[in-house]
Point group: C2
Chain length 546, copies 2
């Protein structure tokens, strides 16, 4: 039984998102969020929020979540000495995790197995994190998003971070990275893991650095290894490792506008410079693979030399490191360890696709996991937007997971509101890419919402939105009364003209008269115009734009 410090008392948000409730599908109890519509229909959507949105679940943050995967893990035998999803996939074994992911995505389990076996997708599931609900990250599946949280020495407490975790997954974060750098890193992480239904990622070098009082030159393989082992034991599902920052690449950053902007990257660069030796992460990568393999921890090979400005995008330093990440990918895969590759950063739109192309070529199509990228540097305070543009485009090109950026990027630490804004913004980018990639189920939600909009089912329109609460409140600012929720008009044109009704008339007429092809419709329309006049030419006119 988990026992977390009784003096910490997080207040987390529970209960379903308005207009929906939790439903579990199949023998593996795959969660979906069911949005009930006023026309009697419903739409099930992918659900990352865990038991927190389940009205029938008892939430006790001190006990942690139920260990959903405990039996699956316990009943499993190694193949080829390995217990990783990659090893099973290669051996032709369909794990419960694979079947769970397949049902979540609405695809065949065999597709999941094939993609994992090929290394084109990963399922980050540490055997020591049995509370997690598996998710698959790969270009053939729904684009995923990650939310970064984590306390720093000064500004936030464990309780706040647990609250942010639950808040982030409520709005759709597929994974959460704990980037804590202050005191109580271990304890914060324990709280997050025991209460997280989504994969948790970390950057172990941050904690290792705390152990040497913040002096990177004092780091060593041994300190780092022990930190990784500690985190593996706790159940971290994937870890960022900046093993591609090589000594000889550091000079390539000297003439950059913004040098090295990755924290992990600069720690390793500092170490390499100080010791004038090759990075201990690179030299001991083999041993690291063995550790990851025994827990099934997934590598997220960090881009420590990613560009921090438009000027530095796609430069020699960035692509030199990417080539090394490709070498490391091959080493990890040979040991049945799952691998993702991290990507930029700041990249102008015309240089985005090249990043994906090169990553796929150099890293054997390992899932790409990018931070934005920001498509311009000139809008601090709006970098969720500058980066959503780049994120949507890079995901369309094949990126499997997007790390969110909040409005506070470059300026300060995100609070709860910033976390929500970042998550919703990235759900938009991810979904736009799912549409562009023509994911078979992606357009269902767009169509359902647009149909509701056209039929003036305001409540359904709100409830189908990524953020029903804000959609409703914006509507209510102009038309607060309850009858306005069923009115066939809105504040844009007002009751006098409104709206889209003419097309509704046209369509109803076509349906009633069986006008199924264009010629028949055209013929019918002539008749329609007579009928229309006979009815006194009463029409409604639509919406706001010219």
């Amino acid at each position: 039984m988990t026992s977390l410090d009784a003096r910490v008392s997080p207040a987390v948000t529970t209960g379903p998102i308005i207009g929906s409730h939790k439903v579990y599908l199949g023998d593996l109890q795959v969660p979906v969020r069911r949005i009930e519509l006023t026309d009697g229909d419903h739409l099930d959507v992918y659900d990352t929020s865990g038991p927190y949105t389940d009205d029938s679940a008892t939430i006790d943050v001190h006990s942690g979540l139920r260990e959903k995967r405990a039996d699956w893990i316990a009943n499993r035998r190694p193949v080829g000495g390995a217990l990783t999803q990659l090893a099973y996939a290669r051996a032709g074994v369909l794990t419960e995790e694979m079947r769970f992911c397949a049902l979540r995505e609405g695809v065949e389990p065999e597709l999941v197995r094939e993609e994992v076996a090929a290394g084109r997708a990963v399922i980050p599931v540490n055997r020591r994190h049995p509370e997690s609900e598996p998710a698959i990250i790969g270009k053939k599946f729904l684009v995923k998003i990650n939310a970064n949280i984590g306390n720093s020495a000064v500004t936030s407490s464990i309780a706040e971070e647990v609250d942010k975790l639950v808040w982030a997954i409520r709005w759709g974060a597929d994974t959460v990275m704990d980037l804590s750098t202050g005191k109580r890193i271990h304890e914060t992480r324990e709280w997050l893991l025991r209460n997280s239904p989504v994969p948790i990622g970390t950057v172990p070098i941050y904690q290792a650095l705390e152990k040497v009082d913040g002096d990177p030159t004092e780091l060593s393989w041994e300190i780092y290894r022990d930190t990784v082992l500690e985190q593996c034991e706790q159940g971290v599902d994937y870890m960022t490792v900046h093993a591609g920052v090589l000594l000889r690449y550091v000079p390539l950053t000297a003439k950059r506008v913004t040098g090295i902007v990755s924290r992990g990257g600069s720690i390793m660069a500092a170490w390499c410079l100080a010791h004038h030796r090759e990075s201990f992460l690179y030299r001991h990568f083999d041993e690291l693979c063995d550790i990851f393999r025994s827990y099934d921890v997934t590598f997220s090979l960090g881009d420590g030399l990613r560009p921090g400005s438009i000027a530095d995008a796609n430069d020699a330093a960035q692509f030199a490191e990417l080539r090394t990440l490709g070498e490391l990918t091959a080493i990890a895969r040979a040991k049945d360890v799952q691998v993702m590759i991290e990507g930029p950063g700041h990249v102008p739109m015309h240089k985005i696709v090249e990043n994906v192309r090169l990553e796929e070529e150099l890293c054997g199509e390992a899932p790409f996991y990018t931070l934005g990228p920001l498509a311009t540097d000139i809008a601090p305070a709006y970098d969720h937007i500058t980066s959503a543009i780049g994120a949507a485009m890079i995901a369309q090109a094949g990126t499997a997971m997007l790390c969110y950026v909040t409005p506070k990027e470059h300026l300060g630490l995100p609070d709860r509101d910033d976390v929500k804004t970042g998550v919703i913004t990235y759900k938009i980018a991810a979904h736009a890419a799912d549409l562009a990639k023509q994911h078979p189920h992606a357009q269902q939600r767009d169509d359902a919402l647009s149909k509701a909009r056209f039929e003036f089912r305001w409540i359904d329109q709100f409830n189908l939105a990524l953020d029903p609460d804000t959609a409703r409140s914006f509507h209510d600012q102009t038309l607060p009364a309850e009858p306005a929720k069923t009115a066939h008009f809105c504040s844009m044109c007002g009751p006098k003209f409104c709206a889209m009704k003419i097309t509704q008339d046209v369509r109803r007429y076509a349906d009633e008269h069986g006008l199924t092809d264009e010629a028949a419709i055209a013929a019918g329309m002539t008749e329609k115009s007579v009928e229309f006049a006979a009815r006194g030419n009463r029409v409604y006119l639509p919406t706001i734009q010219p």
Copy 2:
């Protein structure tokens, strides 16, 4: 002397944006916003804000702005009977407006003339709007953005709309459309025109409809023509005309998910259906051209059948209308009238480029002016973001002007804050496209801001941002004290580690030792690592991300 109703008293925002001041360049007094930097340098940026941000200007909204173009217009002789910028450009005449635009854009005047002559760019400047500062809209120039304002019967007053105009141009709106539909349309427009330094656009059918008490079937060519003449006389610079909505296209919308969503489009569809005749706009287009020609009003040929949902994008109705807009473009150009083409709407990312390709092919490369498009339907309350993604991509592909979308789209009428959010979001999309199109000057601002960021010049970073006020306030939420503005750290890593300093050390070393190529730098780095150790291995570590 202009005399506006003394009972209306708009309170508009005046004074420069923080950290900058107005400067006028050359004999034509082209305004720029000069951002002064703490390192003694400065950056001049394109400025749409008019005299309102000029500390030395006297603002009297009842008198209106100074008639900057009055002499230019008075001294001009017609060529081929026409006084339009297109006629002059074709005749090889460089007008003051062309030279003004060239200086604003930092390009040769001859490029402006060539592009206008070819119909690939327009300068919307009604001879009766002498207060305006000319701007050029075309794919070879900076991407422009439009902000829609306008009162409706219930919710806003003339004073509010004048305030919104000044507020929108303060943050960068290149043109403003007055979409008023309520009472006092004429008077509202008069207030806007007399106080606007940017081109004002309208949709005359809205006012025409008011004249027939909102019944579109009562509309006629005569009523419409008189409305257009009234607006031409007032000085409207460009007008949306939905002349491509033909009777035979209406049936093509019958099976759509969201039918006809353009207000103007549905008005015309209703008229065509009721009368079972071809649109009077189409039949009288020739006469309309003659009117536009005599004032140099620019057509914005409206896409009345644009898609209102992802499902309806790029369908037969939309592209049928586009083909007709191409025919109309040829007619207008033959009469030396300038033309823009309006575009969608809602389009998934993989269908965006096709819109630009087809528009250019069918409409003789007339400047494309699109509304977003929204890349997904599922995020009402965030449609400034869903559409910024589409807007950036369509602008990269060649769209010349982007019509903004505010967070209230589909839900209610934008207030002052929404207008600012919409404008800043679209400045981001436009600028991202300028970078992607490699506009020769676009990256200067990114580089200046990133350099300031790297050098911890916080004040400069704020002042170079699109929205200095919000950037500063976000920073101050975590580190409010004034010394934090010059500190070589921020709230992300705190004073213990911070930041990018290591690269600064590397670079300074390289500069001092003349290490200009990679080999030399590498050699120098060996030395550096020794020196580095000698200094006690003291490093600073950068920023927030893993």
